[in-house]
């Protein structure tokens, strides 16, 4: 888009403003539409975070009346040596990574199956996106009860021939259970993204590959996967953003238990805040999580900006 086109209707009536003033006015007219959203976002998300930083420097437990004193970095020192916090951090990484990667693999598989014309294709796609649309709270409850119940659950029933009939999945393998429910919920999301990528693949390239005598696997690894790359990256990025914040599934399925075996950071911090009433410590945890997330996210976003954005920019 050329600069002249975007200059929004310069008012000819204005009595010859200096070039500098005009440039400034133009800058503002371009920036002004951005401001409401920007100010709103800063007020609702950044301002509370400043308070979180402030709280994190104070010794503040609602159960201790004398608390509220400035504590420096004590909360941070405590949190970083707290085995439960570190366990929850590890769980967060394990749950997020396994959920995103498995969902992506399942999503790619389902998308490949859907990327051909067959009877009932629309119905199958409609069925497959359903888990993504069901309320996650309901998904968690259903997996916990109707699926994973050791006596009446469907999973036990199906796995009985394999000798896994009486396994109490949620109690014995809480992380596996949580990841299963999450994978079920997020695979359709990945499938839709990959499917969009597959359908944007140009037929010519596929045909050229076939003419060159590439077999199916070679076609997939050498032609399809590279083409899908930015869709996969986008899926991993968005999936991670949402899965890292998972709270409902853990709250409803395991309550972080047994003990703290399946609690992730959002759930553990919630417990410290609303059940332990330790505002200072939970604020410190929040700050640490944010720092960790920013480090990881910066790296991830770099990647996305390089591939996803630059490509799109080139087209405009």
């Amino acid at each position: 888009m050329s600069a002249t086109a975007t200059a929004p209707a310069q008012r000819p009536a204005a009595p010859a403003p200096t070039p500098r003033a005009r440039r400034r006015a133009r800058g503002w007219s371009l920036r002004a539409p951005l401001l409401p959203a920007l100010i709103f976002t800063i007020l609702v998300t950044q301002l509370p975070f400043l308070f979180t930083i402030f709280y994190s420097l104070r010794s503040w437990n609602l159960l201790r009346p004398d608390s509220g004193a400035f504590a420096g970095l004590d909360n941070y020192a405590y949190v970083l040596t707290d085995a439960q916090f570190l366990g929850a951090a590890l769980n967060t990484v394990v749950i997020t990574a396994s959920c995103v990667l498995i969902s992506m693999a399942v999503g790619i598989g389902l998308a490949m199956l859907l990327d051909r014309r067959f009877a009932g294709r629309g119905v199958v796609r409609t069925l497959l996106i359903t888990p993504f649309l069901i309320i996650p709270v309901a998904t968690a409850l259903l997996w916990k009860t109707t699926m994973f119940d050791p006596v009446f659950g469907l999973v036990g029933f199906v796995l009985t021939p394999l000798g896994l009939g009486e396994v109490n999945w949620v109690a014995q393998y809480p992380v596996v259970s949580v990841v299963t429910a999450l994978v079920w919920q997020w695979s359709p999301f990945m499938m839709l993204l990959v499917l969009a990528g597959l359908q944007s693949q140009s037929r010519d390239v596929v045909e050229a590959g076939q003419v060159d005598g590439a077999n199916r696997w070679q076609m997939f690894t050498n032609v399809t996967l590279p083409h899908l790359r930015r869709y996969i990256e986008l899926g991993v990025l968005l999936g991670s953003i949402y899965v890292v914040n998972t709270f409902d599934t853990i709250y409803m399925m395991t309550q972080g238990g047994p003990g703290t075996a399946s609690s992730n950071l959002p759930f553990y911090i919630y417990q410290r805040t609303f059940l332990g009433f330790d505002i200072g410590q939970s604020a410190a945890m929040g700050v640490i999580v944010v720092i960790g997330t920013i480090v990881v996210a910066t790296l991830a976003l770099r990647l996305i900006f390089r591939t996803f954005m630059s490509d799109q920019e080139a087209k405009s």
Partner: protein
């Protein structure tokens, strides 16, 4: 209307001259693959199908060993759920979802427009800022928000959720709408401006009609995430402003006891979003890929 997104892959065009190998492989192999696809799809969605099936059972039949497929369907559970105070929760969810989605669109559209124009300095920084707020773990801000809401008497108030859901969905909406703005041909906009149309007018009568499917996709994504949101809802509401996901928490105390009723409640709670999602799945694809579909 969504020709770009939906055109079901020109490559599946049936009789295109080349690609004889694929066609000849057709019939037997093709049928097998179709059956396999159907089987995998049915297994994959079986938990959802099982939920719907369970909703039509009595409590006794819902918990049998082995699980049963054959039974006399009953609407008893649905009646019980509606009879219990389910409706206020639905009302709250509707307000939170519709109001926040509208607010998101109002705020995000001008912002996305500004960011789709090259000369804005530091476009990438602003975009990065928006998406980075999504990475801010909600737990890191919930305490100050709780304190502030309590301070101004906005705890257990549905409009608190509206504000938070707006902030939650705004970054994604800005990103999505920006990518749809980038797809509007520059020539169309230039022509309108040559004829002296003001900026709001160009936005409203030239660009928005072209972007309608994109706006729909954005609204849909916002609605899904608002309707399904749980963390803020459970922590900031009590009796007055509780939403549908909070209603479902009630079943956690009676775990294992009321499966059929839980299934009925879960089915009804999910139904609005599931149906909307089904009807608008093409827009959904477009939205999720942030307009990257060509």
């Amino acid at each position: 209307m969504t020709a770009t997104a939906t055109a079901p892959a020109p490559r599946t065009r049936p009789a295109a001259a080349p690609a004889p190998r694929r066609r000849s492989r057709g019939t037997v192999g093709g049928t097998a693959l179709t059956v396999l696809t159907w089987a995998i799809a049915l297994v994959f969605v079986s938990p959802a199908l099982w939920m719907v099936l369970t909703a039509f059972k009595t409590e006794g039949i819902a918990q049998t060993d082995p699980p049963t497929l054959l039974f006399q369907p009953t609407l008893e559970q649905f009646r019980d759920v509606v009879g219990a105070d389910f409706t206020p929760y639905v009302g709250n969810s509707l307000i939170a979802t519709l109001a926040s989605t509208a607010l998101v669109l109002v705020l995000a559209t001008p912002a996305a427009y500004a960011l789709s124009i090259r000369p804005v300095k530091r476009t990438k920084d602003v975009l990065f800022f928006f998406i980075s707020t999504k990475m801010l773990p909600l737990v890191a801000v919930v305490v100050p928000i709780y304190v502030a809401a309590a301070e101004v008497g906005m705890l257990d108030n549905i409009w608190t959720l509206v504000v938070l859901y707006t902030a939650m969905n705004l970054p994604i909406a800005v990103w999505m709408l920006r990518s749809f703005f980038l797809e509007v041909p520059a020539g169309v906009v230039e022509a309108a401006q040559m004829e002296g149309a003001s900026l709001p007018r160009v936005l409203w009568s030239v660009m928005l009609p072209i972007m309608a499917p994109g706006v729909a996709a954005t609204a849909l994504i916002c609605m899904i995430f608002s309707w399904n949101e749980f963390f803020f809802a459970v922590n900031l509401t009590a009796s007055q402003a509780a939403t549908v996901p909070v209603y479902l928490v009630g079943f956690i105390t009676s775990e294992g006891l009321y499966w059929a009723q839980l299934a009925a409640a879960a089915t009804m709670a999910s139904l609005p979003i599931v149906v909307i999602g089904w009807m608008a799945q093409r827009q959904l694809v477009r939205g999720l890929s942030m307009g990257a579909v060509k």
